[in-house]
Every structure is written in C-alpha cells, then in structure tokens.
Amino acid sequence: MFLRILKKDLKRKKSMNIILLIFVILSAMFASSSSYNMLAVYGGIDYFFEKAEMSDYVILTLNQNGEDPAEEIIRNSDAVKECNKEDIIFYSAGDITQNGEKYVSFENPGVIVSAKGMKLKCFDRDNEVITDVPKGHVYVGGIMSTLEEVHIGDTIDLKIEDKTVTVTIDGYLKDALLGSPFIGNTRMIMNDSDYSELLGAQNIENHCGGIYYIRTDDMEGLQNDVAGVYNSLFSADAATVKLTFMLDMLTAALLMIVSICLILIAFTMLSFTIKFTLTEDFREIGVMKAVGLKNRSIRGMYMVKYLCISVVGALIGYFASIPFGNLLMAGVSDRLLLGDEGSAGVGIISACAVVLVVFLFCYHCTRRIKKLSPIDAVRSGETGERYKAKSVLNLSKSRFGSNLFLGLNDVLSKPRQYLSMIITFTICLLLVMMLATAANTLMSEKLVYLFGTTKSDAYYNSTEKIMEAMGNSDETILDKSITEMEDTLAKNGMPADVHVELNYQIPVKFGDKQMQVLMQQCTETKTTDYVYDEGLAPVYINEVAFTPKILEELGAKIGDKVKMTVAGVESEYTISASFVSLNQLGRIGRLHQDVKTRCGDAASAFAFQIDFKDNPDEKEVAARIERMREIFNTDKIYNAAEFVDKCTNSSATIIMAKNMVLMIALLIAILITVLMERSFISKEASEIALMKAIGFKTRSVSAQHTVRFVVVIVISTLLAMALNWPFTKIVCDQIFGIMGAGSGIEYKIEGLELFALYPAILAVVVSLAAWLTSLYAKTIKADQIGNIE
C-alpha cells in the first residue's frame, strides 16, 4: 500500500521530486569533490616534497670570478649530513630566440641543468619522474610554463655567449624548488650533450653556479655555518621553500572555501526544498490523518521517499564529483604533485554523509506532521499553509507598476523564502570582490614601498646588465651602465637620474645566532626615503633595519646590536627600525646608504629606477616609457603599478582564481535560480492561474518573477558591499601575510568594478536564467485555477 502511494507520489510530483534530486546530486558532488581536494591539498606540498626527495636546506649560488666559494664552506660545515650539488648555467629571457626573434619575456635569470646532473626529482605533467631528456629537447618549468607564448613543441635557440643550441620544448615540469612563479627563477632541463656544448662557451664560468641540496639534523648550526656564503643568490630551508607554493595553496584553499560554501548552499537549498514539498503535501497529510493513519506511518512514508531520492542522488553525485574535482584542481595540479591515495574512500564517505544529512533534515522537517491535526491540514488554506505572509507594501499607495510591485512585495513579505538565495549570492559576490581587491592591490603602485624601494617614474628591469655586474670584480661596470643610461635619456630629451637597489647576502650575528640575510642598499637614495613600521629610519652608518620576520628569527628587537660582515669587514650595527616587505617572503634588511659594499658581491638587484628631472605629468611619463622601450629595445620598462605586478608575480594567479570563482559563482547562481524559480512556479501554480484568469499575460508573470530575483541580487549586493571591507581585510591580510607583508596594507578598492560590474554580471545572468525558467509559467492555464491544489 505504502509502496503504491510512494510510487504515485514520485510520479505525480515529478517536478518537485526532480528538483530535490538535483539538489541532492549537487550536494553530493560538491561534498565528495571538495573533501577529496581538501585531503589532496592538505598533504599536497609535503607529499610533493617527499616524492621529489627535497633536502632540508637549499643554497643557490652564482660563481664569483669563475669560482664558487660556497662549496668549501659547505664541505667544512659539521652540520651538513649530506650535500648534493647540481651544476647550473644561468641564462636570461634575452638568450632565447625563435627564428631569430625574441621568444619570451621574464624578469629573473633562469637556470639550465642537465638531466643526468639533477639532484632533485622533477616530474612531468603526468607525474612521472624526468630521468632523461633526448638530445635537442628540453623541459621547462616555473614561470616559463605559465607564459602564453611558450608552447610544447616549440623549437627555440638558446645562446650563451658564443654557443647556441637548438632545442624543442618537450613538456612542462613540476619542480619542488623553482616550480612556483613566486620564486621567479625558472628551470630548464636539457640533455647532457647539449649542456656540455653550452659549457664550452667563452666566459661560461661567469654564467655558472650551483644548487646545493643539504640534509642536516642541525638547522641552526647549518645556518650559522653557511651564513658566510656571500655568493648565494637564494638560500632557504624546506619550510621556506614550501611557502613559495602558498599561492597555489591559496588558490586551492579558495576553491575549497568555494566548495564548502557550495555544500552549505546546497544543504540550505535541500532544507528549503524538503520543507517546501512537505508544505505542498499538508492537505494529503491531513486526509491521511483523517482516515486514521498514524503519525509514524505518515512520517515513515516520507522518510522512505527522501531516502530513495537521496541514495539515488548521492550515487549520481559521487560519480559526477570525480571529473568535477579534477576540474577544480586543474590549475593547482599543474605545478604540484598531488597524491590521490584514499580519494575514492573520502568521496564515498562524503556522499554517504549527504544521504545522512538529507535523512536528518527530513526527520527534522517531518516533525511538523505530529503537530498537525487533520482539521488543521484540511482547513488552513488550499495547500495547508497558513496565510502568514503579511503584505509589506501597499499597491494602492505605491507608484510601482504591478509587476515591479508584486515582485518586490513578494520578497519583502516572505524574506525567509529568499534567505538562502540572498546568502548564496552574497557569498558569491564577497568571494569575487575579495579576490578582485587582492588582484587590484597586487597591481597597484601603492605596494611599491612593500618592495623596499621608492616610487620612481619608471623601472627598467635589465637582468643582463645586472648579471654583468654581479660576480664581477670590476666595480665600475654598474656605474658605467647607469651613466650610459642617463646619457642616452638626456640625448633623447628625457633628462633623468637613474639608480638601482642592490641586494647582498650578509651574515648577521646576534648573540649565538648567526644567519644569512639579504640586505638591500641603494647608494643614490637615503634610508630616510623609505617607509618603516616601527622605530626610526637608519640615520647613521652603523644603523640597520630588518623585517619583523628576521627580527623574530634572530630573536632581536629594535635597539639591539647585531654584527654583520659587509664587504669582508665585520662591524656592529644597531637595529633602529623594522619594516614590512613582500621581498624574499618578508625576510630582508636594509643597510645605510653609506655602508661600504662591493657591487660585485650583490646577489641580486632591483630594476634600474628612472626619475625624470623635469617632472613630467603622468601622460608624458607613459609616453616616455614607450619611447624608452624603443630606445633600449626592451619591453621591460614599467611604471610603478606594472613594476609591482611584475615583482609579485602573483596577480595572474589571483586573477585566475578570481575568474574561476566568478565562473563557479555564476554557474551556481544559474543552477539555484533555475531550481528555485521552478519550485516557485510549482508552488504558486494556483496564483499564476489566478493572475492569468484576471488577465495577466505570461510575460507579466515572467517579469514579476524575474523582478524577485533582481530584488534578491540588489539585497545581496548591498549586504556584500557592507561586508566587503571586513571580509576582504580578514582574508587578504592572510594572503599578504603569507607573502611576507603583515597588516597595514592599503587595499585598492575599485568601486566601479566591485560594486557595479560584478553585481551587474550576476544580475544579468540570474535575471536571464530566471526569465527563461519563468517562461514555464506559460504551461499554466487560467482554467487550472480550480484544479491545482
């Protein structure tokens, strides 16, 4: 008997049951895919580092006068348990051409390693270890694999000094050390014979260096011992290297937040749908009670029905979660090696959890059956619901047209019915707004100070000129380059001062603690020109400033004295200030401009900063940047905002995440709109029939229903606008914190983009979806007014 009633119910209330089924499928799909993603990403970097056999500490060096002094220091350290050196050749983007034309553009020098000489396991996109590369072929990774102009199968010429090798790009690699675009350097793996050919180039010793993979049980001792490696370009422990992948983790984490939001949304919708279908059934429940069925039997019938739907839905959802989960992780798994152990189990458990949640929801909702007396159910309105909705607006006093009025009044009279949609759309907008703000801030000149530099009119990034000076004993090379540049600019009617910030790896001692710190210095500016968080700018030659991270690692504070060996001379310096920086993941210091340094010792440098003497306006600066690009035959001359973008290398990732979140948000908004509107039509069939009976056209009904969704979007937008600042602050502070800058970031909020563009996109998409779905109201005829329960 019950089975027959159930069968009839499933058939008769087809649309509502299908809507419920779709929501269960969505919930199961989101729950399964996001729990799998969470598991994969949670252990993702550790898994990757373990499989890559990443060491405890890494030092990247560039030869000094053709020699690498690091080797001896490391060999003499007692803290070193095991050390493997990978020989590398440095190259720059300008060294690569295709058919004689420039091929790519990236800022920092890349490194070439031979496949046989590799001491770190790198993986291809199929997660296979790269053990060999055929002659004439290469694998590229890091930032190069993200560039649009780079394609697998491209044949390129790589010229180091007088030697050129022609190679074809075989694929992209997953690199635990240099894989993140945040690190800037890119790795190229080539065949041994190609590598040997490059080693035969003139002056190759100035292009060579090494990557030391060190295993240790005494990290502090190792850091003390290697603090004197002055030719190191980069040195960090594994934990710091892991941080470079934080942006990938961030993308994954954002996607997980989206997934969790989606699960919450789906469950909210489920609750709504279950309550909704039960409301529809009140008359039947009343009749069943009137003929003597017990509460338990009625409730049991509904439980069985929802169990059937949830089991079918969860099953479909689980299988749909596999491609969906892969789609979500696509961007992240390009660079990270992610494990998939136990993913099936997690997916199944999640799908089962959905069944359980639906069942519990149903159990909770059907409690109302107990409270209903037969007479209540039969008498309280035509569908059993009580007319609790109170009109908030008065048509007689309103100036709105009937469609606008009915739509607006409906939302305002029954806000609970729209609450789940309002929450959904608000969350979607908040996520997109927050990511857009993060991306805009990362491309804003407001962040220039966070790179420990001053604002200039233009920034010329010339890896070649910097590399020429670095590791060279001729101290005048850099000055000559600057003078040449100033002369060229003056000749072309753009008189300017040019300066460059150099970074030195300096051993810093505080008490027993010794570590190597990258120190910035510019002899053409004053330390007082920079921004500090605490303390006073170094005014005297024996004063120094560090970031809070360095102070924390040293265990020092402002006012303490540290010993530093600069240009071979050890002196005592007083810490006078601390400052935040996005450089080196927040691990950096600043030397007074008068401290004697050796240009050749520089580990890296910023761009050449150009300040025009004649104070041109913004438009003229833009025009001059264009002219300079022609004069110097490079596209690496930027304004302050572009320079910040290039330095962070992360706006693209954030923009990608934002676009992905926007697409997912729109997709979810469409799904929810379609399902909700379809539910409304089912529920309000009698009202639609009544409207038609008194002369409303289908297009009026559609307009009225569409207005409701527009009202919901407007409310969501207002809520999102109100919550945007605290939400953005909380989440973005974390993002910038990971990148090295603490709180106090001045966010760039583009009002028009945030509060007009994204809400407008959402409004257009949702309205369109609502309008198209509302056309289903056409099937409801005026004469159905008496037939619809």
């Binding site: 008065n394 048509l395 007689s396 009915l406 009202e687 008194i694 002369g695 056209k697 005829k781």
Partner: protein
C-alpha cells in the same frame, strides 16, 4: 439589447489515457447584453467546462465563441488576456486571492494592470474603496485575506471582478463555499450588478441562486437539453414563485 456572446457548435474534448472524453458536444446558445444566465445540470455534465470555454480561459476543440463581435478562437493568448482583463470579470467557488496582498490591493490589482479605465493610483484606490463600500466590506480594505470571513472574501472577489467595469461576469458556483446567509448576500450583490447593466453568466447547483437569473440553461452530457426564460426578477415577492416554477421545470428536465 445587443448580442454579447454567441456560441456555435462548441465542442470540448479531453484526452485522458488515450481515451477521448467529449465534455461539450455541439453546444449552441447566445447571451444578450444585460442578461443574467445560469447554467445548471448534474455533476460532470460540463457546466464549468462550458463557462471556462465560453470565457476563453480554456481552449475549445471545435466550434466558435463570438464575444462582442470577436471570435475568441482567432485571438492570440495575449489578446485573450487583454479581453479577460478589460471586458470580463471572474468569480470562483473558492475565493482565490493573492496571498501576500491586502484585500484592497487584491481588488485593485487588475485595475493597476489595465489601461482601460486609466487614472492615477489614488483614483484606482478610490474606485476600489467605492466598490468595497457598495458591497459593505470597506472596513476590511487593509486586512490580509486570512483576516476576513468567507462571505467578505467572496464579496472582495466580486469587487475585483468589477474593478475594470467588465461587460460580463463569469461566476463558477459563486456561493458554493458559503453558508445560506452569506450566499444570499453575495447573490444580491451579483443581481445588483446585473440590474446596473452588467451581463452575468454563472454556473450553479442552487435553485435559489438560479431563480434570481433571467434565464437558465440546463446541460446534460455536454449538450444544452433545455432552457427556461424567467425574465427579470422585479421584486422579492416573486422569488418564491420563480423558485417553484424553476424547480418544476428542472424536474421535467430530469434534475
């Protein structure tokens, strides 16, 4: 008196489980302007279907309904909606109302939608209140629909059907859900409207209701089996005699 509705060979067939059910079979009749016509007949005879098909709410299978010189079959959905909005009023057995509108707002909704009478929102409101005053439910204007009695609600439905001054009111058992006293009140209002010139076509089971009409059509198995011309009910003393007369006729028809 001019002819307002002309029905020729009207057929309506429903297909249920691949079986044809001919609910209306070649129905022919006409209604003059100002008439008040009752349709009676046993359950399942096709009374409501006839009302909905003649009013254009339901599509006819064959035949033709001419309303005020216009063939309903030639009208598109939107044109038909305009006809219903401006020239027809509807009263149903159940008091269907928009749930989250007040009584007054429910009444004036068709007027706000229509361009026929025009007027500002205040004028429309005054028109609605005047109708409510006339039907004695003025005090319920601001109430929600769950705050009034069934009789008041049905009178509100009548007000709504009258707000655009339609040429005809179609009523499907307008007193079916009401008690006797409420039923009498509602019928008196409908008769009053008819006396003011509004044509009325109603479906009823109630002889007392039908006796107040000028003409009664008796339908059996989708066919008009007979019709009884009662003429205008001039005063209340005639009512009992008209009821008796109608009862006798219905007995003859097989009621």
């Amino acid at each position: 008196m001019s002819r307002l509705i002309e029905v020729n060979d009207l057929c309506k067939t429903y297909v249920v489980n691949k079986k044809q059910n001919n609910v209306l079979r070649n129905v022919n009749f006409s209604i003059e302007e100002g008439e008040m016509v009752a349709v009676m007949g046993p359950s399942g005879s096709g009374k409501s279907t006839l009302l909905y098909t003649v009013s254009g709410m339901d599509k006819m299978t064959a035949g033709e309904v001419t309303f005020n010189g216009r063939k309903l079959s030639s009208l598109r959905d939107n044109e038909m909606a305009d006809v219903r909005l401006d020239e027809m009023g509807f009263i149903f057995q159940q008091m269907y109302m928009m749930k989250n509108l007040s009584i007054l707002d429910n009444i004036i909704l068709p007027a706000v939608k229509s361009k026929k009478e025009g007027g500002s929102r205040k004028e429309i409101r005054d028109r609605g209140l005047a109708l409510m005053h006339k039907l004695g439910i003025e005090e319920t204007a601001g109430n929600d629909i769950n705050e009034v009695s069934g009789g008041q609600l049905q009178r509100a439905c009548i007000c709504r059907s009258m707000i655009n001054k339609p040429r005809v009111i179609f009523a499907d058992e307008p007193t079916g859900a009401l008690n006797r006293s409420a039923s009498d009140e509602v019928m008196n209002e409908i008769v009053g409207l008819n006396n003011e010139g509004t044509t009325v076509m109603l479906v009823t089971h109630d002889v007392k209701v039908a006796a107040k009409c000028t003409r009664v059509l008796y339908i059996v198995d989708g066919n008009i089996k007979g019709e009884k011309n009662l003429g205008k009910c001039e005063n209340t003393s005639q009512v009992r005699e008209r009821e008796r007369d109608l009862n006798n006729w219905l007995m003859e028809m097989g009621w």
